[in-house]
Subunit: 661 residues, 2 copies
């Protein structure tokens, strides 16, 4: 498998490379930064599913203390990639083993010194991460290494820790702190293979003399422990062995070979790597920017259920089960959210932090007034509940796991349908139920009526939920009765009646399905025309004054997305008509969009369009270059949903085509 | 009656005085400008109900050619109020007779020359307006007067005329043109009492020698004729006599005497003047800025039905009938608009130009991006249909005019109710009809559900409409049957069923009725706090990013307005609770707001609040000083709805209180 490499040092690529060269083990993520870096260079050791909120700021996942801080000096000359004495510099990521490597050579008073550091986040142990530094020189040299657990960390909405303390015990440096909001005690410690002296302020000194061409090796074995957690590894070599073995297992489950296309092969390998490093090691889920940092609050979006879950279902079903359990476990919060808005059933969090909806009513800041703008993602993007139900049904289709269905699965599906039923209004003139005042996947058009994606997704949620209920009523009457007991009275009957009359938009004479009521009446202009109307490059395209609002230009696949989830709902001709219609209006302002078109392109025969969209999705984090900052807000990170979309395109798109021909 | 005067010339007040000293006769309006002024000083001769649209610009009423252009010279020295040789200058408006007067004295090479011009728009003849200029000096003097019909006119969204020609015939100068859009031929001519020489480009010269202390008098009798219209007056004195007689009649119908309060007396007189000068002379209606210009496109808003009609009902019922007929006559367009949006019944134009809805979907320009903002006045401010129906019912209550009810009145009322019925959705969970996605009188909160004003207004429209229908079914079965034949099948039955279940928001434990679903959950801040958040003084407060949007701050009376239209619907305690609750949140960003609070203040016992709000409403055009320009758009003009509100406060507010005590 190709190793990702980058030679030479470019300060402007530090943030981007932090994402591109990310290592992670599904629980801890360590950004692709260098040993001598600090928060200035966005060093981050991100933890999945552990959130903290500081008053007046966004609640987000925590970044913990950095155990791998290291600044080496040779004969009192610093060995740093930013230095003027650098002869060569290279970083690499071996995605076959989840290994990050940096190698830098320096001119130290005429001699050449080489600093090499390997690093991995242990795939075999969720709390462990290790690094090995190797220093050599072409003459005798005195080395001084400043090492320690850096507690002055990069945080977007921190500080998240109080009572921060560092201490030393033997060759172990330990940093402890307590999260502000929920009082989690977090301990990060690092064992050094050489004696640490002069400990002060979290940092110590390791000294060594090396002879010409001799290698000085420093192993660091670090752990991130919450509460009473313990960790078993204490040696680099044994940790490395377990890690590499686990990666073998992961790739054996997930590798896909592509014939005669190195570019596509690597793009797909790299995409799969980014999914494998997020495979949850417990009943938690995956954030929209994975473990690359705190962007989007570390919250879980529909990205996981709709764009990533299929990969795990196809490769690591236990991980898929964890993702599903996460949603089932947060059913109580989804019920609570529904009640708060005056509805029945379960209204899942748009930005889930263990069920809590982290989404703000003001999710956008106006670039002109610097004031928050009222957005409706939280209260109107109701399709999230249909997406969750779809995921559970998808899981069930793959696994036939009745146990999970009786442990909340069925209950969740039916409650998601019930939510939509109570959200709907009856159009007494047209004699049908309608879903009014929603936002579809295309967020640029707010508060629309009868969004095709939303209506169909809830229709099928209710239909499949009722069918499953009726199957279970026959097969397991007692267990089914127990589930019914947790649900509103007459739910099955009510849903069946509702299904009879729920409005489902139909294709027009050209085969095109209107994205929502009135979409066809919007201004008929393309993406570039709309882009040219921007006054400020970071303007929000939606909202009442956005450039896209009154036009047909959409942020991302919307009607098209429905086809990907239910490929047999409409004929290929209809799908192609919609693909051809909507593509020119699609900005792809979301990383979820390209793969959605790629999949439909595959099904409907646009080979070249499919290939291009596949690469756009698969290479998104390889290419980088996307927006890392919106004004003063960091919005960078990896795009695992696009990685999942690339995988789906390969398997369900190209794979399916292949089978067919 | 006090005469409004202003001494001294101040160039900065030219535009404001144009409104403040307006003369009009319900059809033609001539701004309070000076004879020597041109379009630079916003001279305007506005015509009621005649619209023209130029491609790509807003359609608006026309300003026609100015017959009263006059620049005098004495011994070759110009006599202009802007000149450095001005000794004194005064303008005045005698509201008892609708007479505008200007008197300016000049130093002409050491001598004193006086220029006086009287002007009126003939109340007794809709097409006629007259002016008399008097010039005298304290030594012999040679006068040269440049006079003519100025075709280079002030237009906001013009040019509205093509084929413009001027000609002279005897002592008559004539300007003709044809409107761009509908091809109306417009002729403006002026007869001069002295010979006109040297005619060129629309202007001629009148020469005269005056002796010391002798007066030179020039009469101008002008006419504005559309199509084949004719005009009967040709002498200043006879026109003046008819005009003054008509004003006697008007005031005898409308005067209200206030005891021991000169300020309130004049403010009310002045308000009534501004209503009398708008009394329509045919089946047309009154624009929101009256005849003061083209602001708001010269369109008719709910202002007329709700704020002005009561005055005419109480003083000049024939004019009230004209206003009602205007809406009945435009029922076909209201039906058409309803169909265009997918509804039944009649959806009246938010900005009516003889029934055509001139309201744009983009009625606001963002001050930061200079792009249009999608606004919802046209498609969501549905209460306009309830307002129209209320006005017809109000007219009927005053007049008992069954003929009008059978000539479209009843049909219109029922169609307005039917519109709301078809607009409503059935909430199948709460078993009630709801009016979703509307804008109430408070326009800062867009697309709200169950706006109290809107729901009650339509409820009462339907209820009173059905009651009237049932009365007529008994009393005039044949005539009623004929009306029913023009209406949708089963309309009465349908409305009766709908009324059973239409949701009517009720007072909460504190007696306060929520303005719309969720209003109480908005940020609880007052007007000044919200104002302090403005970044640009001309920002729109509503829309998705507006300062008021996510707060309780409202543009104008909303719930309170309902109480004024139906004072017996809720107890005085409830009305007071709402008055106290909503007043601190009310920006009074509309001139309709003060009088609404004044009326409720009268009913609920806040004497001082009522008096202050009455003066705020009655003196609005006297005080001036309001915004005349929004960016590059002229938004100035008179505020006849506020004048009507002042009248209502005097009559229904203070008058009613007086009766009571």
């Amino acid at each position: 498998m190709k190793v990702l490499k980058e030679s030479g040092f470019n300060a402007e690529k530090i943030v981007e490379n932090g994402n591109k060269f990310l290592t992670a083990n599904g629980y801890l993520g360590y950004r692709g930064t260098l040993d001598e870096f600090t928060k200035e260079e966005c060093v981050g050791l991100n933890v999945a599913g552990v959130y903290d909120g500081v008053k007046g700021k966004w609640r987000e996942t925590i970044n913990v203390f950095n155990p791998f801080y290291l600044v080496a000096q040779a004969d009192n000359i610093p060995l740093a990639a930013r230095g003027e004495n650098v002869l060569s510099h290279e970083i690499s990521l071996d995605i076959s083993k989840g290994l990050f490597d940096r190698k830098t050579t320096f001119n130290v008073n005429g001699a050449t010194v080489t600093l090499e550091c390997q690093r991995f986040v242990n795939a075999a142990e969720k709390t462990n991460l290790c690094s090995r530094a190797i220093i050599s020189a072409d003459r005798d040299m005195i080395l001084t290494l400043k090492v320690g657990v850096d507690t002055d960390i990069w945080e977007l909405n921190g500080p998240h820790f109080k009572d921060v303390k560092t201490e030393i015990g033997g060759n172990r440096i330990i940093a402890c702190g307590v999260t502000q909001e929920l009082g989690y005690s977090v301990k990060v410690y690092c064992d050094y293979s050489s004696p640490v002296e002069e400990f002060s302020g979290g940092f110590g000194i390791i000294k060594a003399d090396i002879k010409k061409d001799e290698k000085f090796v420093l192993d660091r074995v670090a752990h991130v422990l919450l509460g009473k957690e313990e960790s078993k590894f204490d040696k680099y070599d044994s940790a490395y062995k377990a890690h590499v073995n686990e990666w073998k297992r992961l790739w054996s489950a997930a590798r896909i070979e592509i014939k005669d296309d190195d570019r596509a092969q690597f793009a797909l390998d790299y995409s799969i790597y980014h999914l494998l490093i997020l495979a949850p090691k417990g009943e938690y889920s995956i954030a929209a920017r994975g473990l690359s940092g705190q962007t989007y609050k570390g919250a879980v979006f529909w990205d996981t259920e709709i764009f990533m879950l299929p990969f795990f279902l196809g490769t690591l079903p236990d991980c898929a089960k964890n993702l599903i359990k996460y949603r089932i476990n947060t059913l109580p919060q989804a019920r609570k959210k529904a009640r708060e808005y005056g509805y029945g059933g379960a209204f899942y969090a748009w930005e889930s932090q263990n069920g809590y909806d982290a989404c703000s009513d003001f999710n956008v800041t106006d670039v002109f007034t610097h004031r928050p703008v009222r957005t409706y993602f939280k209260d109107k993007q109701i399709h999230i509940s249909a997406d969750v139900a779809y995921a559970i049904l998808n899981y069930y289709n793959h696994t036939g796991d009745d146990e999970l269905m009786f442990s909340g699965g069925l209950e969740t599906i039916l409650e998601c349908a019930e939510f939509a039923r109570t959200y709907s209004y009856y159009n007494h003139i047209k004699n049908r139920y309608e879903l009014l005042d929603v936002i579809g996947p295309d967020e640029y058009h707010e508060r629309v009526n009868n969004n095709t994606y939303t209506n169909y997704m809830f229709y099928l949620t209710a239909k499949r939920g009722v069918e499953l209920a009726e199957k279970y009523a026959c097969a397991y009457p007692e267990r089914f009765k127990a589930v019914l007991g947790k649900l509103p009275e007459n739910i099955i009957e009510n849903l069946k009646n509702w299904l009879q009359k729920l409005y489902l938009p139909q294709p027009d004479a050209n085969g095109v399905i209107e994205q929502f009521d009135g979409y066809f009446k919007l201004e008929d202009v393309g993406v570039e025309e709309v882009r040219s109307r921007l006054v400020h490059p970071n303007e929000y395209w939606g909202g009442s004054g956005g450039v896209a609002t009154a036009t047909r230009v959409i942020k991302q696949a919307d009607v098209i997305m429905l086809f990907n989830l239910y490929p047999d709902l409409f004929s290929k001709e209809i799908q192609r008509a919609n693909y051809d219609f909507y593509l020119p209006y699609t900005e792809h302002g979301s990383s979820l969009s390209h793969c959605a078109y790629a999949l439909t392109a595959c099904r409907t025969g646009d080979k070249s369009g499919a290939y291009k969209a596949f690469l756009d999705s698969a290479e998104i984090d390889l290419r980088g270059g996307g927006k890392q900052w919106a004004g003063e807000i960091y919005i960078g990170g990896t795009h695992p949903a696009a990685s999942g979309g690339a995988w789906m395109t390969a398997v369900f798109g190209f794979g399916y085509r292949h089978k067919e021909t």
